[in-house]
């Protein structure tokens, strides 16, 4: 039996001194990729899925409009609403809002402004077409319907 009793004299503990380094590496990754929300979204956002997605080439040219039913129906009602920045706006204010967004850009890029519409799936087309009419009026004709890649079924 003495045969089996012989064991190497090495320590059996795993060195944990490099663990913080690994964690820090992960930490830095998430710190760098994190974009803290600037404004709270007040409408429901269940973004539809699609397959033919395109990436935007220049992020600075994008302004977001959020459309959907309010998250707090007891305060804001149940009708779908449009949110720009941190407040609800009516369709008539869109032209004004677009012009404010255009003012933030350089002069030679103003006509390339892209409006990203983040619309909840439950919304009806009526409000969206109203928004589109206003965007045409404001001469912001590039529209991106934000959506998530769906898994191809075929």
């Amino acid at each position: 039996m003495s045969k089996f009793k012989k064991k190497a004299n090495t320590s059996q503990e795993i060195p944990t001194s490099s663990l913080p380094d690994i964690i820090f590496m992960l930490l830095f990754f998430f710190m760098v990729t994190t974009v803290l929300r600037e404004n709270e979204i007040l409408v429901k956002q269940n973004i539809p899925k699609a397959t033919q997605l395109r990436k935007l080439e220049k992020k600075s040219l994008v302004s977001h409009l959020y459309i959907g039913k309010p998250r707090q129906p007891e305060v804001y009602g149940t009708e779908p609403k449009i949110q720009a920045n941190d407040a609800f706006i009516s369709t008539d204010d869109i032209v004004l809002w677009v012009n404010q967004e255009k003012d933030k850009l350089f002069e030679d890029e103003r006509d390339q402004i892209t409006i990203s519409l983040k619309v909840d799936v439950e919304t009806k087309m009526g409000i969206i077409s109203d928004v589109q009419q206003e965007l045409r009026e404001a001469n912001a004709r590039k529209v991106l319907y934000a959506s998530i890649r769906s898994v191809d079924t075929d």
């Binding site: 001194s17 998430f30 397959t51 395109r54 799936v121 589109q132 590039k142 959506s147």
Partner: protein, 209 residues
Amino acid sequence: MAKRSKREVGVNSAPMADIAFLLLIFFLVTTTIATNKGLMLQLPPKPDPNQPPPDINKNKRNIFKVLVNSQDRLLVEEEPLNDVRKLRKMVKEFVLNFGKPDQESIQLYNTLPNSLRRLTRKDPNSSDSPGEAVVSFKTDRGTSYEMYMAVLDELQGAYYEIYGDRVGISADEFRDLDRRDPDAKRKYEEAREGIPMAISIAEPSKVGE
């Protein structure tokens, strides 16, 4: 000189991992990786009040009509369609029909790869040439956004597949072409040459909301 004790003076670094974990979990939870992806669309310019709307005398055969009612039912070329996914093939066949091609579109046809030529049916009741073909998409105010996106996805998909096939890449690769790169830009323009993505979004009717 005071006598120093022989004890070790190193800081205990074991809890450092715990602190790092705590921070890590915080950032994991708050992270929303920004997704700026979606379906791109160019709206038509606003109508000029000084000019009357242009007369549209396109032949009916050159317009591919897609209607969606307030119940999310599809009507394609006057016939009901249940499966949205069939639209893509129909649009591709419509665009590449070459029913009555002129000199230019015959040249265009000759440049197409075989995979696209196979779709050509030369049906006199369908589009004359890709340059003439227009896809008209009309919804109702009561149509759901989900349906609108599903149809638009198929319509754009049909065009992207044609473009991709023309330059020998897949539709996915075509969409990801970076137009700042001159090589990719050339490819992009070569693929779209003569076949404009003519998807016209008509103003919705007002039945149900």
